[in-house]
Amino acid sequence: MSSEAVKKEFKFTFKTKSTVSTLTVPVPIPLLLTVKEFVGRLMCAHDLPCYVEEDLLQMLQLFVKDETAKHQNGNASVILKALEGAAHDKLGNIADQWTKSYTQECTGYTQEKKVPEGQEFTELYHKLIHSQTLEVLFHLEHTYSVAVQDVVVQRDKAIQKLQSKQSQEMERAVQNLDITHDDQHVNMLAARHFENMQRESQQWEMELKNLQEAQRQEFKQYIYQLANDTNNGEEGLVSQRIRAMSDSLPIQDTEEVVEEPAMNESFTINLGAQLKTSHNLRLMSMDVLDLCRHKPIRARGRLMPQPQRLQSAMSLYSNSLSALVLMVDDRVNSYTGIKKEFANICQQSTDFHFPDMDTQLRVIQQDAQKANLLRKERKMENGSADSTASDGSSGSDNGEMSSNLQTGDFYMTRHSNLSQVHLVFHLVSDDSIRDVEARNRHPVILALKNILKIAVQFDIYTITLPLFLVYEMYEEMTIAWCTRRAELVFKCVKGFMMEMPTSGGSDGGETRTIQFVVPKGISEELFTTLSTMLPQIFQQSRSLDLTQR
């Protein structure tokens, strides 16, 4: 028995002059229409005389009321029957389910409102960075980053020194092969070199980590102190101390490096048939990691905050985040390629808000395993229908689940110490994306859709992605290849943007920005081609013409 509607026979008898007519109709219970409407339809459909309408209405109202009550009683009785027959442990089970749904979903019933870890710190920081303490905080961060960079420079020097020492030794050994050294010696030497190198770098790594950990602790304390300090409006002792600390650093005027993209162009576009929403699009030719690097500028002895960096710091805990899409391989680590470069940038200063890159990646690896498990389960579900032929391909991950991801998956890392970026989407890609034939069903393209969806869900208002879906230039990337790829990405992104649900409510005012990055090396001519293609694919909003009237 279910709550679905049942049909009940309704009989209505009325007299016309001498003949007695009876109307019999099935009435769905519960009746979703009003009784009046039902009567109206009956009157028309059966051509009933108008003087019976009132009677019919009354009778039917009664009938529907009775039958509905019976239906509802029936429903409840079924449940009560089940209750009578239920064993005690089943009742306990149900009671537990209810308890769970109350304790997990309602504030009144959770044991105590547990304040999430670090929430207080988050709120304090957000408050301070939006006050006059901003400058002091900036000084503090700078002081710390100088210390970190010091270590990094020392590390790089030491490692370089060790490297050259080792290569000299090796050179000597190879030269003197068969004279003072034999093959075994050389092999041993190489092994020793490797060991030494590893030890050395581990030591540095350790030192860096300890330093950053100490800084992190100190930073937190400072935040709490600052919060007390500035309460009375005047700049307090703590602020002065921090200022003094950073001012005592050796002054080295750095040249003002403006890392503006080599070529860039912005557009405002409108989407939507009737109601238009406007979005900002930007096409830039640059090294994408320049969005992450930041160097504090010291000019004439004064610390000059980089405006983009300030903006990022201020919006860290806001509802307007910016993110970057990096293209990575399927392994969740930071050993090679752009992954390594990015990790190095992250290491340049301490992240005071989020765990360091390694820790974040470790957590992600665990989730990646879970994801693979899910994937396997899904495959099993689907596979049971079309035999087990596909088992062979996934044979490699038989034992424990691999933490390697698949093309089209992505993972996210959070950062507070980068120039213009809070979040990085690491989108897993492979060589197939270099194929000119990659179409709109390619997993990487589909992943863009998921990325945009996450962006809507988590208030990411600026997102940067590679227009060619690769950041490097390869020889197969001819002009034709580039324009074709750009067209594909533009069109797909447009489609995804139109599909995106508005997150509702007060969303209307804010516009989202999507930045398309092309490699630094492309020709001006190609860039122009791309920038004319963009407004053709997206509908550019009409600029307001003030000369009119």
Partner: protein, 894 residues
């Protein structure tokens, strides 16, 4: 709508559950977000009124599936009050029970149940009467399916509710109305005996206990079990027999034996009580209620010497949703109120990011945000700011005189309403946000609409200034002259049985104005389908053309809880503005319409018309949707509202002027574009400034001779009964239909379509010509083209016959430009005194008059080609004027 009285307005909030992953419905479209589903269901609650229920006012959708519910609210609730001895008296106790049952019975009648009845949400108004709140949560969330939290109050849930389990799967049976009676039983028991059941039990034990009450209900009455476990048997016996009887009934474990709320109300024990009085029918407008509103009307006695007290609260006399609306205009914002009370705390998004997302959209590493838990707190909106804002409004402004002569009405106006005169000159957007202006408009329209149809002419007059958004729905209905028992008519139409067009309707609806939260809800889809089907069924001679859905959308949006009125408005609208457009063979109608449209473009903007002609950019390529949907397909709803506000007071030719006004705004873009770019520009339709567009349309309308928009397929004059209020004389020239003027031999006659299409310029009737040059009597000189009684004629008549004919007789002040001598071979005008006169006349109407035939139209076309504005020809040629005797012969000396 009930007046505010001493009520407060409260807001509460919760999250709808979000859909997992990338799910699609059976139709392949993305699933409707749950918050939108809830929003759709909620709308109906706004019009549900019962004195024992808190009135629902509005629902607001926030970011990320958050919903905010605004409803009537009271500070006092049963939970606190029951600790006093208020209900020790049997009468007071039974009254409490009776009033709660009244509320429950009303809900059951309307087909939904409370399910979370608890002493906390049984509120008490200033007089101590019951007001149930939070009663619709179970209903609006689709029996709890659209939220993650359980709907119910643990202590008071019935065993059968618990047994069904908290899961929201569709297989799970929804709770019935009698479960509320159980909750009531427990609540009353607690009140009667001053205790709480199982106060020290943790949730699991509590639930188990209640379940056991049901399990062993047949062997021992749950009431007895409870009494025994709390050792209250003796105390219970000391209660009056009526109370004991009532409690025993409410807690019956078996469904058949437990009475429904309605049955209980009719029980002997309540025979002293009578139902709470509802709202008087006379407080409704004609559109809101069926039947005679004067039924049972009691005119209050006029008391001569009522003393005016200063502290009279006039705001309290306004209805709750008016007050809420004004509160919003006074700067109120529900999200802010919630935030101020700590209910809208959410963690920064960066702290809640997931770690991994797979290509299938599986999201991993997402932590549950503890701030998204359900909190049932209600925050009261402070009306202080609103009251201070309106403190200086004098009492008489709340009761404007709308009867009596102008002098009297003026006398009754206060100083502040004079200031409003100035306000009414400001842009519409500002007026709509100005609280004082809106208060005055609301008060006025409220009274006018209650007086409809008697007040129809005053409504039309006021609508020319503006229409307050709060009353737009009914004002539109009034402007469209909806009358009669449209509700009964709607009930009679079969909207359920399948018809062949169902499939097309089903395809169109999910694409119709879906950016609107309201219209994208399943409830809205169903309503739209019903209205469209009802229209198709009730207009068998017409058929469904795509676009009807767009046309219906504004009416549905405004009359969401009144389908019948939406249909009545739609039908009236189509009859007036789209006569014959929905015939299955409508090409002749549309082509005529478009030909007239082309004439109007040429008349007002020859340069654009010439350009469009040269690149072959025919209005047929874009304007059919414009007119078939009266622009509702090309603009978002908020723009359509402003556009139609004006469109509805104009006549059936007004839409043509709107079309020209839109082209005027796009003019620069179009003039610089080739054919393809023009098509792109128009199909993408850039943002149009609607207020400018409306102003421009009115200007164009006023500068178009009425007969220029004559169409043979326009709606024939409607006969109206003499006695009907609608038969009164139209209030202005604008509203008169061309077809409703008395016909004479000087009027326009239908042209064949070929003829119409071959001509570049509009024709005007001889009547209009006479009127325009002031040759007709003064009583008829109401034409808007005549600005003042200046000596200069406002039109220039060019007589293109040869000079002999001209000398034999011509219209006074007309200029002779014989066709065969006028143009040089290159097409330019040959210089002569007449041409100078023509050039001096730029910007005025130029009427080309000749003999019957194609000469005059051709001449006019050539003038247009040369960029002359406002060129038209006279229909019927000079011959038709012979009988009027106005033709003069110029004296030979000149």
């Amino acid at each position: 709508m009930q007046p505010l009285g001493k009520a407060n307005i409260g807001v509460s909030t919760f999250y709808a559950s979000s859909h997992a992953e990338d799910q699609c419905g059976a139709d392949g479209l993305p699933l409707t977000p749950n918050s939108i589903k809830i929003q759709g269901r909620y709308q109906w609650l706004k019009v549900l009124y019962h004195p024992r229920l808190c009135q629902h006012i509005d629902i607001v959708r926030g970011k990320h599936e958050r919903l905010m519910i605004i409803a009537e609210h009271y500070k006092q609730c049963l939970e606190e009050e029951s600790e006093n001895d208020t209900y020790a008296d049997e009468g007071a106790f039974l009254r409490l029970a009776y009033e709660i049952l009244e509320g429950l019975a009303y809900m059951n009648e309307n087909g939904f149940v409370h399910r979370s009845l608890s002493p906390k949400n049984i509120l008490l108004d200033a007089e101590g009467h019951v007001k149930l709140s939070k009663y619709a949560l179970y209903y609006m969330t689709g029996c709890g399916a659209d939220v993650t939290f359980p709907v119910g109050s643990p202590r008071y849930m019935a065993p059968e509710v618990l047994m069904a389990g908290p899961s929201h799967s569709s297989s799970c049976l929804p709770s019935g109305p009698k479960s509320d009676v159980w909750s009531l039983g427990i609540i009353l028991l607690e009140v009667a005996l001053h205790f709480k059941i199982w106060p020290n039990y943790a949730l699991p034990q509590l639930f188990a206990k209640i379940l056991l009450l049901g399990k062993y209900g047949s062997s021992q009455h749950p009431l007895d079990t409870i009494l025994k476990e709390h050792s209250l048997v003796e105390k219970f016996e000391s209660l009056s027999s009526n109370i004991r009887y009532l409690l025993r009934l409410c807690l019956q474990p078996l469904m058949e034996e437990r009475p429904s709320a309605k049955e209980l109300l009719q029980n002997e024990i309540f025979k002293e009580f009578s139902p709470s009085p509802g709202l008087d029918k006379s407080t409704y407008t004609m559109f809101q209620c069926q039947g005679m509103r004067c039924e049972g009307l009691q005119v209050p006695q006029y008391i001569e010497d009522v003393e005016m007290t200063d502290d009279e609260d006039y705001l309290a006399e306004r209805s709750v949703n008016e007050v809420y609306y004004l509160w919003g205009l006074a700067g109120g914002d529900v999200e802010n109120e919630l935030r101020r009370n700590g209910l809208l705390q959410s963690r920064p998004p960066i702290c809640g990011m997931p770690n991994v997302v797979t290509q299938y959209g599986d999201i991993l590493g997402l932590e549950r945000d503890s701030t998204s838990l359900y909190d049932d707190t209600v925050v009261m909106l402070s009306l202080d700011q609103l009251r201070t804002r309106l403190a200086h409004i004098p009492p008489e402004d709340y009761y404007p005189l709308i009867e009596g002569d102008r002098e009297m009405q003026k006398l009754s106006q206060s100083q502040s309403s004079h200031d409003l005169k100035e306000l009414s000159q400001l842009p519409l957007i500002i007026r709509e946000k100005d609280i004082e202006y809106q208060l005055h408009r609301i008060v006025l329209y409220d009274r006018l609409l209650k007086g409809y149809p008697y007040t129809i002419n005053r409504i039309k007059l006021e609508a020319r200034r503006d229409i307050p958004p709060l009353f737009r729905a009914e004002t539109w209905a009034a402007l469209l002259e909806v009358s009669g028992d449209f509700m009964a008519d709607y009930d009679k139409i079969d909207k359920e049985s399948p018809v062949p067009i169902d499939h097309q309707i089903g395809v169109d609806i999910p694409r119709c104005h879906q950016y609107s939260e309201l219209l994208s809800s399943p409830v809205a889809h169903n309503k739209l389908k019903r209205i469209l089907k009802a229209w198709v069924v009730s207009n068998p001679h017409l058929c469904y053309w795509q676009g009807l859905d767009s046309l219906c959308a504004p009416f549905l949006y405004l009359n969401f809880n009144n389908e019948a009125l939406a249909l009545a408005c739609l039908s009236a609208f189509i009859k007036k503005y789209l006569h014959k457009f929905f015939l299955s063979e409508n090409s002749a109608v549309i082509e005529e319409y478009l030909a007239v449209f082309s004439h109007l473009i040429a008349f007002h903007d020859p340069e654009l018309s010439n350009h469009m002609g040269s690149i072959g950019f025919d209005p047929k390529l874009f304007a059919i949707t414009w007119f078939l949907t009266m622009f509702s397909h090309v603009f978002p709803l908020h723009k359509i509202f402003h556009l139609w506000d004006t469109l509805l007071i104009g006549n059936s030719s007004f839409p043509l002027c709107v079309g020209v006004a839109i082209l005027h705004q796009l003019r620069d873009g179009l003039l610089n574009a080739d054919f393809n770019e023009c098509i792109l520009l128009i199909t993408n339709m850039p943002e149009i400034n609607i207020e400018d567009c409306v102003k421009e349309s009115i200007r164009i309308f006023c500068h178009t001779p009425k007969s220029a928009t004559y169409r043979q397929h326009a709606r024939p004059p409607v006969k109206k009964e003499e006695s009907s209020v609608f038969a009164l004389k139209p209030i202005s020239y604008y509203t008169v239909e061309v077809n409703e003027l008395p016909r004479s031999e000087l009027s326009r006659e239908p042209l064949s379509l070929e003829e119409l299409k071959s001509e570049r310029c509009p024709r005007i009737s001889a009547e209009d010509l006479l009127e325009l040059c002031g040759l007709k009597g003064i009583e008829n000189s109401k034409s808007p083209t005549k600005k003042s009684k200046s000596s200069k004629p406002i039109i220039l008549i060019i007589d293109i016959r040869n000079s002999e004919d001209f000398n034999r007789g011509h219209i006074p002040l007309s200029v002779n430009m014989p066709f065969n001598q006028a143009f040089a071979p290159e097409g330019d005008l040959v210089a002569c005194p007449a041409v100078t006169q023509l050039n001096n006349h730029k910007g005025r109407v130029i009427v080309v008059v000749g003999n019957r035939g194609t000469n005059a139209p051709n001449f006019a076309a050539q003038l247009t080609m040369l960029g002359y504005e406002k060129v038209c020809t006279m229909h019927g040629g000079i011959e038709c004027l012979k009988s009027t005797g106005i033709l003069t012969v110029s004296s030979p000396d000149l």
